[in-house]
């Protein structure tokens, strides 16, 4: 074999997969269509956000790279939802796109056991048995062998971009699609679907009138996403806000027939949570204006990103509606907005480890699985990389539960329910989100990263130290009294925060703000978390009733036809997962449990 593992694609999923594999000791090759596009932020110049920020911190806690990359390249930082509740707060940062790419590439280049190669994969190679991966074929005719493959092709498989009447086989504007691989996978029996996404225009900074816009500053100080250090030293740049108006909407309405979306040229489903401007104007006709964010693409570039104006209308229409917006009257368009339609693989064909059910040691991660977003892609890439490495060691895969990580929720949702539109993470998808605060990601996941060999001893020590400090502060609160009342009880009151007690308990000053912040939340949310615990217990027990991969659903009497088909397709690993499949009803799960119980009884060594 040429390599232990090959990672196809150098996007956010590919980066995490390749680094995880190499760090876990596998000789790894990353094949990408363009080395200059590694870690490219194809759409908005920002990382994080609600639940996405949590994903970044989870990636970091496990030993992934995304947190470090954004910490090194951020040009604005904010904590979102400060007033709406700590459980759903999250960090978001604007990124310098060019340095983000450069740091990503440099990190890969410096990683031992990892090689980079520019080519396009057009097919995969299978062993004689037809069900184990053994390599890839590239466009330039290379046959490269490996024991495991992680496929992270993003939006590039059979991709096509649309700008009004114009269309071209590209994954990003000016970059050719990866043609051939999607067809090859179809031929091998994979179910492939079409999705659509889009990106807005970029305009020249010096052509804009910022005085006519609202300025949006970042928070200070800038805080790191990574748990590995406490501060970041980066510049903070401003973003700007402006609004569309009746004139903008009129231009869009009058030209809507020229949109490939309304003309039926695009068949893929787009994301409802991130609609194009024409979608917003049509669907929310009563709104007289929509908010537009004008965001810098980086330091040392004139390009500005028009967040909120994604579109697939022709370029003359785009220019017209952009120029109708206050502050953008003389905007010089540098890149037009466009829609992209691409192949994705139905994620129900995957195990929770992200390995395909059909082909052994073929893992798929990222936008190829029907997700959207850098963070969603990266967390899958990391899990796929870890599990590819574990499979090479013949160790059981790392599967995160819905109760311990947004990453777990995301993968479970994809694999169990599939997706019909680009899947984005939302806090409301997590039933136990109180347990998934971004500031506790290290407690939840770093030990797991350490146990698979991704996190070094120092990180574990750092975590241990942090936990000791948290315990110490809690003990301090238990033993301290203000006006005869226990401080821990006082802190449970909604109107009191820990920093109110600094004068009365001067020892609190010895601890960092981050530690105090966490104790504050731990104490305040304790009651609610305990209330969830019973549900979590029940959930975990159901997850622990495992279903053997070879389980014969056809031999099981009493299942509804729909349930039988779905169960055979998803092949859930546990009764808990089975219960989340749409179309599987309570009665079906009951029967399944009975059958498993009978099986357990007849072969006692199994249970």
């Amino acid at each position: 074999m040429d390599y232990d593992a090959i990672v196809i694609g150098g996007g956010h999923a590919g980066i995490e997969a390749a680094l995880a594999l190499a760090k876990m000791g596998c000789a790894t090759l990353m094949i990408t269509q363009s080395l200059d596009a590694i870690g490219r932020l194809s759409c908005n110049p920002a990382i994080g956000g609600l639940s996405k920020g949590n994903l970044v911190r989870e990636i970091d806690a496990l030993g992934g790279e995304m947190g470090h990359l954004i910490d090194k390249t951020m040009i604005q930082f904010r904590i979102l939802n400060r007033h709406r509740g700590p459980a759903v707060q999250a960090p978001r940062a604007q990124a310098d796109k060019f340095s983000y790419h450069r740091f990503a590439k440099e990190t890969l280049e410096c990683q031992s056991k990892l090689s980079l190669f520019q080519d396009t994969v057009v097919d995969i190679l299978l062993e004689q048995d037809g069900s184990t991966i053994c390599g890839v074929i590239t466009e330039r005719g290379h046959h490269i062998s490996a024991h495991a493959i992680v496929l992270t092709t993003g939006t590039f498989m059979e991709a096509k971009i649309f700008i009004g009447e114009y269309d071209a086989p590209s994954g990003r504007l000016g970059e050719p699609a990866a043609v051939g691989l999607g067809t090859a996978l179809r031929e091998k029996g994979f179910t492939v679907g079409r999705l659509k996404t889009g990106t807005p225009a970029r305009v020249k900074k010096s052509s804009l009138d910022f005085d006519a816009m609202l300025i949006q500053n970042g928070d200070l100080p800038l805080l790191p996403f990574s748990f590995d250090y406490d501060t970041v030293n980066r510049p903070s740049m401003d973003c700007y806000i402006t609004w569309t108006n009746e004139e903008t909407h009129k231009i869009i309405r009058e030209n809507i027939h020229r949109s490939p979306l309304y003309g039926g040229k695009i068949v893929g489903t787009g994301p409802r949570y991130c609609p194009s401007i024409e979608d917003k104007v049509v669907r929310f006709a009563e709104r007289d204006r929509h908010q537009i964010f004008v965001e810098p693409e980086g330091v040392g570039t004139e390009e500005m990103y028009l967040n909120g104006l994604s579109s697939s209308l022709p370029e003359d229409v785009q220019s017209a509606f952009i120029h109708s917006i206050r502050g953008l009257e003389h905007a010089q368009v540098m890149r037009p907005a466009y829609a992209v339609e691409y192949d994705y693989l139905d994620p129900m064909q995957l195990h929770l480890s992200l390995e395909t059910k059909q082909i052994k040691r073929l893992f798929i991660a990222g936008q190829t699985n029907g997700t959207s977003g850098y963070e969603e892609a990266a967390c899958q890439g990391l899990i796929a990389g870890i599990n590819a490495a574990l499979s090479l060691r013949n160790e059981p895969p790392l599967v995160l539960s819905r109760t311990e990580a947004y990453t777990g929720v995301l993968i479970d949702d994809l694999v169990t329910k599939g997706t019909k539109e680009p899947y984005r993470m939302f806090t409301s998808r997590a039933e136990y989100r109180l347990n998934l605060r971004h500031d506790t990601a290290d407690q939840r996941l770093t030990p797991k990263g350490y146990s698979v060999g991704l996190q070094p001893e120092e990180t574990m020590n750092r975590l241990k130290e942090k936990l000791e400090k948290i315990e110490a502060v809690k003990e301090l609160l238990v033993s301290s009294k203000i006006d005869g009342k226990s401080c821990i009880d006082l802190l449970r009151k909604p109107e009191i925060v820990i920093n109110d007690m600094l004068d009365d308990i001067p020892q609190l000053h010895e601890y960092d703000e981050a530690i105090r912040y966490q104790v504050n939340l731990d104490v305040k949310y304790e009651g609610y978390i305990r209330r969830q615990d019973r549900q979590v217990d029940r959930f975990v027990r159901m997850e622990k009733i495992l279903i053997p991969d070879t389980f014969d659903y056809d031999a099981l009497d009493g299942l509804s036809t729909e349930a039988r088909e779905k169960l055979k397709k998803v092949r859930p690993s546990s009764v808990g997962q089975a219960g989340r499949i749409s179309g599987v009803r309570t009665g079906d799960v009951a029967i399944l449990m009975l059958a498993l119980r009978r099986r357990g009884r007849s072969t006692p060594d199994e249970s």
């Binding site: 709406r84 509740g85 949570y273 991130c274 909120g308 909604p494 219960g579 009951a590």
Partner: protein, 456 residues
Amino acid sequence: MEDRLYDTKDIIYALATPWGSAALAIIRISGEHSIELLSSVFSRPRALCDADSHTLVHGFLVDPENKQHVDEVVVSVFRDKRGYTGEESAEITLHGSLVVVREALQLLGRIGMRSASPGEFSFRAFMHGRIDLTQAEAIHEIISARTSVGKAMAMNKLEGALFDRIEELKQRVLKVVSSVEVQLDYAEDEIGGDIEFPFEEVTFIHKRLDELAYSYKIGRLYAKGAKIVIAGSTNAGKSTLFNLMLRQERSIVSDIHGTTRDFIEAELSIAGIPVLLYDTAGFREASSDSVEVEGMHRTGRLLDQADVILLMLDGTDAQRAKATSSTLIQDSRCIVVWNKTDKALSLEIPEGSIAISAKTGFGMDTLLNEIAKRLLNDTTTTGQDQIVIESQRQYDALTRASAALKKAFEFAEDEVPLDIIAIELDEALDALGSLTGDVASEEILEQIFSGFCVGK
């Protein structure tokens, strides 16, 4: 949440005998440590805990809060692997009065037992190998007839109008949930600031839920007793009927008190329903007696509160009877009773009226049946709301939803963070979902995307 069904860790209880008055009733409980938990509300906890399998223990169910005896009972003890379910379990045999049964069930709920889902005892029996697996199909049907997963099935369970009403309220809660969730899923700058908490809407829903819960007629009647007022002109035979009803029903609980000029009150039970029966001062054309005038006032107030009014008319003097009582006859709560039919042989009884002779006892069965029918059909409520809920489970779910909404309202008033308010709203949605079908997170997102223009 549907998962509960499969969770054999919970201790579950259910009434094993039909819901109705009978000499005895049996409540079945099952689950690990169920006997120990039961002993916490048993007058002889030690005796119960030490009892061998397949033995009987006599004692009282005791409300731990006020130390009152709920009922004298016999508990059949089944140790681990030996009960119907194959788990530690017990059967409590108690007196079959619905008031007692209801209190006992509530007591078990209060100490942390869970009301069993349909088919759950059988499910556990299967799980523990007590019943042959070939019956799996049967259990599938039983369980699927329950709510949530299959909405179509839920409709079989809930009467159409009631299903619609609860579903409508659930959709309204869903909208409230989405107005909170959208702020948890999108940052301040993405949705243009905060969305105000829909206080009015939450109050509206919570009131509707309370009304529905209140319509749980059996629960209400058993909790408070039905009020039946005998009214009519003087000398129509009201007191004779009153005494006759008390005599025919052996379950008189209290003594008669009051005076005839005021009213007389007695407790009895009709068809197992506790009843407060009132004999009132008779109607009479303009009276100058001030005591009697006051008596008439009180009669008026009693009539306002009555669940059923027995309007007594003197069959021997039909003309006067009709003249004095014309307004009451219109009242839908009214049962028109023509008395003295033994004397008024030529009297023609209008349709819908009942003829009796309080003196001979003629027609009493018909009258008592009619009263029971009225009470159980709830035609007696004065409200416009004709929809009534039918089971303890529905009642529990509605009150759970209502309580959660109230809590969410209070939290919002106190400016508690939205992520906590969301927990209460989810609880309300979950409770209503247990009746008309669970709400998946996808539906919440759907509501968000269709209701709010989101995204940068």
